[in-house]
C-alpha cells in the first residue's frame, strides 16, 4: 500500500502522521526542541526506518531546512487541507498552537481565500493558557474543565501574558472562585480570536484545531463569543500533519 507522510514542526510540538492507502496508519507527537527538524528526523527514522522514495510534506514553523528530503508547505495551506478533508463544509478554521493563532477562510472547494495570524506575542495561544494554569495552580486539562463548568466569569482585560497573569493572581487574592477566573481567561482568548476571525470574515461552519482545541474550556468560550457551534476534530493536534500527508499523497513528492 502506498504511504505518504505529513510532518508538522510546531514551535512546541512536532507531529508526524503516516497515511497508508488513504487511511491514518500512525501518529507521533514529541516536543520540538532544537534544532527544530531534529525531532522529526528521529521520529521518522524510528517509525519508518527510511523515508527514501516516500512522499513527505513538512509544515509548521520549523519547515525550512529539515535534515530529510521533503517538500515544505505553509501551515496555512496544510491546516486548510486537513480541515477540508475532515469537514468538507468548513468555511472558517481557527487554529491555536503553542505560540501562535491563526484564522483561515476557506472557499467551498477548500481553497484558502484569506488568513490572519497572531504570531508576535503569546497572548491568545497555548503558551498563554499554560501560564494561566500555572497561576491558578491547576493542570491544563483542569483549567479547561473548570472554565466549561463555571458559574459566571470574571473580566480579564489585559491580553499581555505577564499583565494578565498578575490580573489572575489579584482576582484570586480577592477571593474570586477559581472556576470564574478560569472562565474569564478562556473568554479573553476567545474574544481575541473572534477579532482575528472577523478580520477574514466569519463563515457558517467553524472548525477549531491545533493543540489548544483539545481544551474543552476553549471550545466552550469560542461558542459563547462567536454565538455558534464550533466543530473540533477528534485529534485536533494532527490536523496540520494530516493536511501535509494528504498533500504528499496527492503530489507523490
Amino acid at each position: 500500500m502506498s504511504k505518504a507522510v505529513g510532518v508538522d514542526i510546531g514551535s512546541v510540538t512536532t507531529k508526524v502522521l503516516v497515511l497508508e492507502g488513504g487511511r491514518v496508519r500512525a501518529t507521533f507527537a514529541r516536543r520540538t526542541g532544537s534544532p527544530p527538524g531534529e525531532t522529526a528526523a528521529v521520529i521518522l527514522a524510528q517509525a519508518l526506518g527510511s523515508t527514501d522514495g516516500l512522499p513527505v510534506v513538512v509544515t509548521g514553523y520549523g519547515r525550512v531546512n529539515v535534515p530529510f528530503p521533503a517538500r515544505d508547505v505553509t501551515e496555512i495551506t496544510c491546516h486548510a487541507r486537513g480541515v477540508h478533508h475532515l469537514f468538507p463544509e468548513a468555511s472558517t478554521v481557527i487554529e491555536v498552537g503553542g505560540q501562535d493563532a491563526k484564522v483561515i477562510r476557506l472557499a467551498r472547494d477548500g481553497r484558502v481565500l484569506d488568513f490572519a495570524m497572531n504570531d508576535k506575542c503569546a497572548a491568545g495561544t497555548g503558551r498563554f493558557l499554560e501560564v494561566m494554569a500555572g497561576a491558578l495552580e491547576v493542570s491544563l486539562e483542569e483549567l479547561g474543565s473548570l472554565a466549561a463548568e463555571a458559574q459566571g466569569a470574571v473580566e480579564i482585560s489585559n491580553m499581555c501574558t505577564v499583565f494578565a497573569e498578575s490580573e489572575v493572581i489579584s482576582h484570586l487574592a480577592r477571593g474570586e472562585p477559581r472556576d470564574r477566573v478560569a472562565a474569564g481567561v478562556h473568554l479573553a482568548i476567545a474574544k481575541r480570536l473572534s477579532g482575528l476571525a472577523r478580520r477574514v470574515g466569519l463563515g457558517e461552519v467553524v472548525v477549531f484545531t491545533g493543540g489548544v482545541a483539545r481544551n474543552v474550556g476553549m471550545r466552550w468560550a469560542l461558542e459563547q463569543v462567536l454565538g455558534r457551534e464550533v466543530l473540533v476534530p477528534e485529534e485536533p493536534l494532527y490536523t496540520g500533519a494530516l493536511g501535509a500527508a494528504l498533500l504528499a499523497a496527492e503530489l507523490g513528492v
Binding site: 505553509t74 495551506t77 488568513f115
Partner: protein, 414 residues
C-alpha cells in the same frame, strides 16, 4: 535578461550625497534651511531660495543604514513612547543626542520649521517639539482632510490658499527672501515636468517583464521627494526613464520570468529589502507601489492658472489626505493598468494614517477585484516591530494561494 542594479543608481547616490552636503554647507553659504514634512508645498520654498530638508527622508536613510534603533532608544529614554511613529522617534533621538549616520552627527540646525498636517497629525506635535528644543520659528499649515465622495471644495481651496500666503509671509519674515511670481512659475513648471516623467517611468512597468521592481523604485523616488522643482531632479528622471526604456526594449528586468505581478501598499520597510528579494525568488515582481505612485501627483497648470490655487488643490489631494474610497479608486486603477495579480499590504506599526483602512481595502480587492491579498506587519524603520520568519510564512502562504493549492507545491523544485 536579468539585471540587478540600475546604472542611474550612481547618479542617485551623488544626488543624495549632494542634497545632504548642501544641508550641512548651507550655513556657510548663507542659504536658509527649512525642515519640512513630506507633504509640504516645497515649490514655494524652492522659489524663495530656501533649502528644504526632510526629516522623514532622513528617517528612511537611518532605517536603511540600520541606526534607527539606537536613535529611537534615545527618544524612548527621554520618555517618548514606542507607539509613536519611528521617524518621529529617531529624529527626536538624533536631535537630543546629536548623533546620526551622516558625518557622525545629527542634521544641522534649521532656520525655520514648516509642518503640514496633510499626511498625519504626528508631524504637528513632532515639529512643535523640534521648535521648542531648537528654538526655531515654526509654521503649521492646516490642510483639511478631503472625505470620500467629495472633491476639494472652493471653500477649502480658499482656506488653504490663505494658509499658503501666510506661510510665504512667515518665510519672508524669517529669511528676508521674497517670493517672485516668475520664479515660482519656473519651479512649478519643473515640478510638473518631473511629475510627468515620473508617471512615464512608472508606466514603463506595464511591460512584461517589468523593467523595475520595488527595490529600484523605493530608492529612485528620492529626488521626487526632496528635489522636486529643481533642474537636477528633472535630468535625473530623464536618465532613469531612458534606462528603463532600454531595459524594456531589451526585455530585461530584475525578475525576467516573474509569474506574478504584485502591488505594494504603504511605506517601504527600509531595513528589510531582503524581503523584496525573497518575493523575487518566489517568482513575484512588484510592478507598482501606492507609495511611489503618491509622488506622481504634482501637476500644475502652465500659464494662466493661479499658482497658489494649484498648490492648494494638489496638496489637498495627496494620498494620505483623501478618503478610503478615493484610495481604493487609485489602487484599483493601478491594479488594472499594471495588470496586477495580487496585493501585499505592509501594515506599518508607525504610520497609522497609511495603515488604518488597509483591511477594508484588502477586503475590497479580494471581493470586488478577485485578487488575493496578504497583510504583513512591520515598520518602515524600527526593526523591533518586525519578525522575519512569520513574515516569510505569510508571504509563502500568499504565494500558495496565488499558485493554487497544488500547482504551488508542484511548481517549486525541491
Amino acid at each position: 535578461m536579468k539585471v540587478s542594479r540600475l546604472k542611474t543608481g550612481q547618479d542617485l547616490k551623488r544626488l543624495i550625497a549632494g542634497h545632504y552636503a548642501s544641508a550641512f554647507r548651507a550655513r556657510y553659504l548663507r542659504r536658509p534651511v527649512a525642515w519640512v514634512t513630506s507633504g509640504a508645498p516645497v515649490e514655494l520654498l524652492r522659489a524663495m531660495g530656501v533649502l528644504p530638508v526632510y526629516p522623514e527622508n532622513y528617517g528612511a536613510l537611518c532605517g536603511a543604514r540600520r541606526v534607527a534603533v539606537e536613535l529611537c532608544e534615545e527618544a524612548e529614554a527621554a520618555g517618548y513612547r514606542r507607539d509613536l511613529c519611528s521617524y518621529a522617534r529617531l529624529n527626536i533621538g538624533s536631535m537630543l543626542s546629536g548623533r546620526g549616520p551622516l558625518r557622525g552627527r545629527g542634521l544641522p540646525k534649521p532656520d525655520l520649521l514648516i509642518a503640514v498636517n496633510n499626511i498625519c497629525h504626528v508631524v504637528v506635535k513632532w515639529w512643535e517639539v523640534t521648535a521648542r528644543h531648537l528654538g526655531c520659528p515654526l509654521y503649521v499649515l492646516d490642510v483639511p482632510f478631503v472625505p470620500s465622495g467629495r472633491e476639494v471644495t472652493a471653500h477649502q481651496l480658499a482656506y488653504v490658499r490663505e494658509g499658503l500666503e501666510e506661510m510665504v509671509e512667515f518665510v519672508a519674515r524669517h529669511t528676508g527672501r521674497r517670493l517672485r511670481e516668475g520664479r515660482l512659475r519656473r519651479v512649478l513648471a519643473l515640478s510638473t515636468e518631473a511629475t510627468l516623467l515620473w508617471r512615464r517611468i512608472q508606466d514603463r512597468r506595464m511591460a512584461d517583464p517589468s523593467p523595475a521592481s520595488a527595490l529600484d523604485m523605493f530608492t529612485s523616488m528620492f529626488p521626487m521627494v526632496t528635489l522636486r522643482g529643481t533642474r537636477a531632479c528633472v535630468s535625473y528622471l530623464q536618465r532613469l526613464d531612458q534606462e528603463l526604456a532600454e531595459r524594456v526594449a531589451a526585455g530585461a528586468g530584475p525578475v525576467p520570468k516573474a509569474r506574478y505581478r504584485l502591488l505594494w501598499d504603504n511605506i517601504a520597510i527600509w531595513f528589510a529589502f531582503g524581503l523584496v528579494r525573497y518575493v523575487h525568488q518566489r517568482g513575484g515582481v512588484f510592478v507598482a507601489e501606492t507609495y511611489t505612485h503618491a509622488w506622481g501627483e504634482y501637476l500644475y497648470e502652465a500659464g494662466d492658472g493661479h499658482p497658489m490655487e494649484d498648490l492648494a488643490r494638489q496638496y489637498s489631494r495627496i494620498l494620505l489626505n483623501v478618503g478610503l474610497e478615493e484610495r481604493f479608486r487609485r489602487m484599483a486603477e493601478a491594479i488594472r493598468r499594471y495588470r496586477v495579480d495580487g496585493v501585499v499590504f505592509h501594515s506599518c506599526r508607525s504610520c497609522k494614517t497609511y495603515s488604518l483602512g488597509q483591511l477594508v481595502l484588502a477586503r475590497r480587492v479580494r471581493e470586488e477585484l478577485g485578487l488575493p491579498t496578504v497583510v504583513i506587519e512591520a515598520d518602515m524603520a524600527d526593526p523591533r516591530n518586525y519578525a522575519e520568519g512569520p513574515t516569510r510564512t505569510r508571504l509563502d502562504a500568499f504565494f500558495e494561494i496565488l499558485e493554487g493549492r497544488l500547482d504551488s507545491v508542484k511548481g517549486r523544485g525541491s
